[in-house]
């Protein structure tokens, strides 16, 4: 046997303060209200820091600061704005190791992912949009596209710093100023980003970070001086936001849930398809809005593929997120764990067959083993509802037409994956799948140049690429 000894990344590199205020107008300020929340390490339930809960008055202060800063920031030549954004990108690269450790501590994701996926993408996003700042006239939105004003941005807990980058980088490049609210369970990297804004000498008020939960987010969305609302999170909250801004002048982009189909044809490169399935649903513990949570496999190879998949799952290493060899980290919160459990139990109750590899679970913290459900029907809850956890529902199909029918038979439409060695079939499928992203012989691949967003209840608007600029320009 060849066992891997523990190889933990040192957490000495991060400096977490016992408590954090709000970042408004380039300064750390104490909240006006009394509200405080704790953020915990989901792998150990250890309290990491105390976080301010911004009240409506705090949000107002932040929006005012952003409004004041907008005049100067939007008038600045694009080439000057670009310098700040490039500088932020470089500082992120320089501090990548620290930010990766912080992300894994607060979120529970494996350090391998925060180090090799999240942080490189975060920096790449800032670099990419920095490059657009002085080229907006050539983006296809007219000769002199103008910014919107103050953007209120609310981001989720699954990719805290990456979602911050997706929101802040295009907003700043286009000349907007922002008030951003990170998720209440994962505020630490956003607060570290506030420090980076100071390090980069970003003019005060261009970026403001307010922490808190739903009420803080609600105050931000409702604030009359916010010109643009950008939200990534659940479809449920997305609906509330859409309702709240309806009839106002506010421009909205929503990036919501998904129930993506990962479709494997009989001629697929099977070993790589297995890797793609694993990466599709077990990457980031399945806390991915575009996760390939429904595996649609052609019946003629279903047994073979499932056997290979189960064998592969048995090699996944679940445990300490800071261990460099960990593949599956902790579930982000007790609430999320309860939701995953509830839906998994529903899956069993509805008659699907549940399977997990032998997988020791740590005593403390929030954990869920990688899980597969076979014999799943379209009508089962686990085939229709977003689980947002390491749970894969396996369905089968016989023909390409049936694959399309099943894949599109969902209220969501964020992403899909197709595995076939036949190019013509790939294109035939891609043109019929109603999903914002269709991955061809891969899954969960992201790039700042590529627009991302959904159909139907997965939201509206696009982030990333040239398309991502549109959400932050007055057109």
């Amino acid at each position: 046997m060849f066992e891997y000894a523990p190889a933990p990344e040192s957490r000495a590199i991060v400096d977490i303060k016992p408590s954090y205020g709000l970042f408004i107008n380039g300064e750390w300020v104490e909240p006006l209200g009394e509200g405080r929340e704790k953020t915990v390490n989901p792998a150990s339930e250890e309290v990491l820091a105390e976080i301010a809960v911004a009240s409506e008055a705090d949000v107002d202060r932040a929006v005012q600061a952003a409004r004041k800063a907008f005049t100067g920031w939007s008038a600045m030549p694009g080439s000057e704005r670009a310098k700040y954004i490039f500088r932020i990108a470089r500082i992120i690269q320089e501090r990548a190791r620290e930010l990766a450790v912080l992300e894994s501590l607060d979120n529970g994701k494996p350090i391998r992912e925060s180090r090799d996926v999240d942080l490189p993408l975060v920096a790449a996003h800032f670099f990419y949009y920095a490059g657009w700042a002085d080229k907006l006239s050539y983006a296809g939105f007219g000769p002199s596209p103008q910014p919107l004003g103050v953007a209120g941005q609310i981001i989720p807990w699954n990719f805290p710093l990456l979602m911050l980058a997706w929101k802040i980088a295009p907003a700043l490049a286009c000349g907007n100023t922002v008030v951003l609210k990170p998720a209440e369970t994962t505020p630490l990297t956003a607060l570290a980003f506030a420090e980076i804004c100071r390090q980069a000498d970003l003019p005060p008020g261009v970026v403001n970070i307010v922490t808190g939960a739903g009420e803080t987010g609600g105050a931000l969305v409702r604030h009359p001086d916010v010109d643009k609302v950008a939200f990534t999170g659940s479809t449920e909250v997305g609906r509330l936001i859409a309702r709240s801004v309806a009839g106002s002048r506010k421009k909205v982009t929503l990036e919501l849930g998904g129930k993506a189909a990962n479709i494997v044809f009989e001629d697929a490169a099977l070993d790589q398809a297995v890797e793609g399935i694993v990466n599709g649903i077990f990457f980031n513990q399945g806390h991915v809005c575009c996760a390939g949570s429904r595996l649609l496999v052609q019946e003629s190879v279903a047994d073979e593929l499932l056997e290979a998949l189960k064998r592969r799952l048995s090699t996944l290493r679940l445990g300490d997120p800071l261990d460099k060899n960990t593949d599956i980290g902790a579930i982000n919160s007790a609430a999320q764990l309860a939701k995953i459990r509830e839906l998994s139990e529903a899956g069993e109750a509805e008659g699907a067959e549940r399977w997990s590899p032998a997988c020791p679970i740590p005593d403390k913290g929030f954990w869920f083993p990688p899980t597969i459900f076979t014999g799943v029907a379209q009508s089962h809850r686990i085939a229709r509802e977003e689980i947002f956890g390491p749970v894969l529902s396996v369905l089968t199909f016989r023909t390409p037409a049936e694959a399309i029918e099943k894949a599109n038979n969902t209220p969501y439409g964020l992403s899909a994956g197709v595995w076939t060695e036949k190019g013509s079939l790939m294109l035939w499928m891609a043109s019929r799948l109603r999903a914002g992203v269709v991955w061809s012989n891969t899954f969960n691949k992201f790039d700042p140049t590529s627009p991302f967003g959904g159909y139907k209840e997965s939201g509206y608007g696009r982030e990333g690429g040239r398309h991502g600029l549109e959400a932050y320009l007055a057109l």
Binding site: F2, Y4, A5, D271
Partner: protein, 330 residues
């Protein structure tokens, strides 16, 4: 992965056969062989490269590094394949093979030495009863461009001189022109000439160029009777790479499941550092599985690797690096 039943590989009763008779039915003609090999699932290059790269990020430290270093030493086929090889050079290498570090007898011996056929007798004599095996390249190594008669004679002579392992090369020209039957027949003939010696079949993956070809050549060699499949001669660049070895490890894993016979894997060429060697061990561990973590089933063809392993081993034991002059160059 692939049903062999239609090719007569597996009997109706589901009994798995390891004899060559049913294998011969798959190889009844070039078209049956071709149908079988082209029916194997494809390999997506981007995905295979990504998987190998991800496994390359595994962090093997402390006790597991120590274990890995000794494992790697025990898996080395210490190799010299130069036109300038002499009996003196081979004897010196054999001494190194038995005691890689003469100052530390806790260092295990390597698995085998690998030499040209004319030096087999020298190596057999030098290794005596040490347990280190003698492997010989044969079959008009490294190009394989000769007649079957010469290849069989080359093999038989090496075996007669005492080689217990034969590293043959396949006819890449025949493989690339689609003449799979010719490759099959050559491997089968060399296997017969090996007698009780183990046969390692070198695919020379650097000349096969696609991963699909690597997978097909792996299966072809295994069906023809290979005990090991080996990446490279070391004379062609690229030699062994992690993704190519990944594809070959998947092949032996699937072959065991389908045909019931276990085959070993040997990457060779370009593996120079402890870090490289450990990446290969991780690849084996998480692809073919722990059952292959053994010198009987996995070898590393290398020459300079051993000294780096020794240097790292001493560093782990003493906390200090000794300079390269403290390790013998043989």
């Amino acid at each position: 992965m692939v049903s062999l039943e239609s090719f007569g590989l597996v009997g109706d009763a589901g009994a798995v056969s390891t004899t060559t008779t049913p294998l011969a039915e798959v190889a009844a003609s070039n078209s049956t062989l071709r149908a079988f090999l082209h029916g194997l699932p494809g390999v997506d290059r981007v995905g295979a490269d990504a998987r190998a790269a991800m496994l390359g990020t595994r962090s093997i430290k402390t006790t597991s590094k120590k274990q890995a270093i000794d494992l790697a030493i025990r898996m080395v086929d210490l190799t010299t394949l130069e036109g300038a090889d002499t009996p003196g050079k081979v004897k010196a290498m054999c001494a190194k093979a038995i005691h890689p570090d003469p100052t530390d007898l806790s260092v295990p011996s390597v698995a085998a030495v690998c030499v040209y056929p004319d030096l087999v007798a020298t190596a057999v004599q030098a290794l005596g009863g040490s347990g280190v095996k003698v492997a010989s390249v044969a079959t008009a190594f490294p190009s394989g461009r000769s007649s079957l008669e010469v290849k069989v004679a080359d093999t038989a002579l090496a075996v007669a001189d005492g080689a217990s392992e034969i590293d043959m090369v396949i006819d890449r020209g025949a493989f690339l022109s689609g003449d799979y039957l010719k490759v099959f027949e050559q491997i089968a003939a060399v296997k017969a000439a090996c007698g009780s010696a183990h046969l390692k079949v070198i695919l020379e993956t650097g000349e096969l160029s696609t991963y699909d070809n690597v997978r097909r050549a792996s299966w072809l060699a295994m069906i023809a009777g290979a005990d090991f499949i080996k990446t490279s001669t070391g004379k062609v660049s690229p030699a062994a790479t992690l993704p190519v070895t990944l594809v070959m490890l998947e092949a032996v894993r699937d072959f065991l499941r389908t045909a019931g016979r276990k085959v070993g894997v040997k990457p060779a060429g370009g593996i120079r550092t402890t870090k490289d060697a450990i990446k290969y061990l991780v690849l084996v561990n998480e692809t073919a599985g722990p059952d292959w973590i053994d010198p009987d089933w996995f070898r590393l063809g290398a020459s300079s690797l051993v000294n780096d392993l020794l240097m790292q081993r001493q560093k782990m034991a003493t906390g200090r690096y000794a300079g390269p002059d403290y390790f013998t160059l043989d």
